[in-house]
């Protein structure tokens, strides 16, 4: 499992933007590059770093970057 900061850096890389761009409250529907390619890469990243096989529908229900982090870590917490 990686830290929240590292999670945000990984997501910045997926979205092809400088590290430190994302901080958490960003709305996913306002990020142009949050597309199907980003979604797949995100699923793979969470699988690799959090050991979680997320359902795409669960990811689609997330509204913010913070929601994505909570989703990635909630199964571990449970």
């Amino acid at each position: 499992m990686i830290s929240r900061d590292s999670f945000l850096v990984q997501l910045d890389e997926i979205l092809d933007q400088p590290h430190g761009t994302l901080t958490g409250p960003e709305r996913l529907n306002e990020i142009d590059r949050w597309d199907s390619v980003a979604m797949i890469t995100f699923l793979g990243m969470v699988d690799e770093y959090f050991g979680q096989s997320l359902r795409p529908s669960a990811v689609s229900n997330c509204e913010t970057v913070e929601d994505l982090y909570r989703l990635a870590t909630q199964s571990i917490a449970n």
């Binding site: 142009d32 199907s36 797949i40 699988d47 795409p56």
Partner: protein, 338 residues
């Protein structure tokens, strides 16, 4: 008599769509990002009047020109495509005439995508080892570009058109060259990769041609190819490792016994994900899609051809093939290369 893969040739249409060209169409389509995510530099796109069968005929002509076999020696034609010339007649019948195959050949189409090549090997092997045929011409050909809406980046960046012609021949041997197999089908994934309209279930109308932009910014109509990338990835990451395990168990082999792994060339990101998950050493995991993209049922034979040309696949090698995708459908087998 045992069936073996004797020769492969492939054909790509002349027109290309490069990643740089894709990137110039929209400001948020970065060439670097597309390249990083897909591992594809260019896709070949069939001309307006160029059908999958045309690509298949060209691939077969290359096979004949290589000297591997002459058209008069083929006694069975298997044509794998999801883009037939017509609803009827069978496109393979039309190709029989175009290829000057004897009239006493068997010929049939079968409709599969990414799993099609391995299914085709299974069919060819069955025909040969039951004495029904000796020289099976297995042609895979696809023109997904004709289903893709120009505004749908999610599929446009991945798929390329192409065809492969594979000669599966009867060889005098007590040992098998192909097999065992694993097959799988899960129709619950039908809607995850689909062209909704144009078949009998939903004929094309003025309404099905109306395009709309979805929540991810991709545009398509019901006449267009739709792919739910997230669902297809979820399917892939579950099914493929299990198929590899089942194939190894069925064959009594371990990962270390396999000389080369050639999976359906979906996209480089997914292939690397699978390689790491299954723990296949990178030097044994073959990828060849940068120059042609995801060519659906031809992706495995094209990769095999390149592996052979590069010396990565040599006589005596055991290669594992796994195809997976539209349907959902999947298939895997081991091939001893001759």
């Amino acid at each position: 008599m045992k069936a073996a893969i004797e020769a492969i040739e492939y054909y790509l249409p002349q027109k290309t769509l490069t990643t740089e060209q894709l990137a110039t169409e929209r400001p948020d389509w970065s060439a670097e990002r597309i390249d990083r995510m897909t591992g594809i530099s260019e896709r070949h796109i069939a001309a307006t009047d160029e059908c999958a069968s045309d690509l298949g005929v060209e691939a077969a002509h290359k096979l004949f020109a290589s000297g591997a076999i002459g058209p008069g020696q083929v006694d069975y034609l298997l044509f794998c495509t999801q883009s037939p010339d017509h609803f009827l007649p069978t496109t393979a019948c039309i190709m029989q005439r175009r290829l000057n195959l004897p009239i006493d050949v068997g010929a049939l189409d079968f409709n599969l995508g990414h799993s099609g090549f391995v299914y085709g090997l299974g069919l060819a092997q069955g025909l040969i080892e039951t004495g029904q045929a000796s020289n099976v011409l297995l042609i895979t050909a696809e023109t997904y570009s004709k289903f893709i809406h120009p505004g749908d980046r999610s599929v446009r960046m991945i798929f390329g058109d192409g065809a492969a012609a594979t000669l599966v021949r009867a060889i005098e041997s007590s040992d098998s060259f192909i097999g065992p197999y694993v097959y799988g089908t899960d129709g619950s994934g039908a809607a995850s990769l689909i062209v909704p309209a144009g078949g009998m279930r939903e004929p094309r109308t003025a309404e099905t041609a109306v395009a709309a932009i979805d929540e991810t910014g991709n545009e398509r109509s019901r006449n267009s190819l739709f792919m739910d990338g997230g669902s297809v990835f979820t399917f892939t990451r579950s099914v493929v490792p299990n198929a590899v395990r089942a194939l190894l168990a069925r064959s009594g082999k371990t990962l270390e016994d396999i000389d080369l792994f050639v999976f359906h060339q979906a996209n480089e990101y997914i292939l690397e994900y699978l390689r790491k998950r299954i723990r296949i050493p990178s030097e044994k995991f073959y990828v060849a899609m940068r120059h042609c993209g995801n060519t659906v049922s031809s992706s495995i034979p094209i990769a095999l051809k390149h592996a052979q040309m590069e010396g990565r696949l040599r006589p005596g090698h055991t290669v594992m093939l796994v195809g997976f995708g539209v349907g959902y459908s999947w298939s895997g087998t081991l091939v001893r290369w001759i």
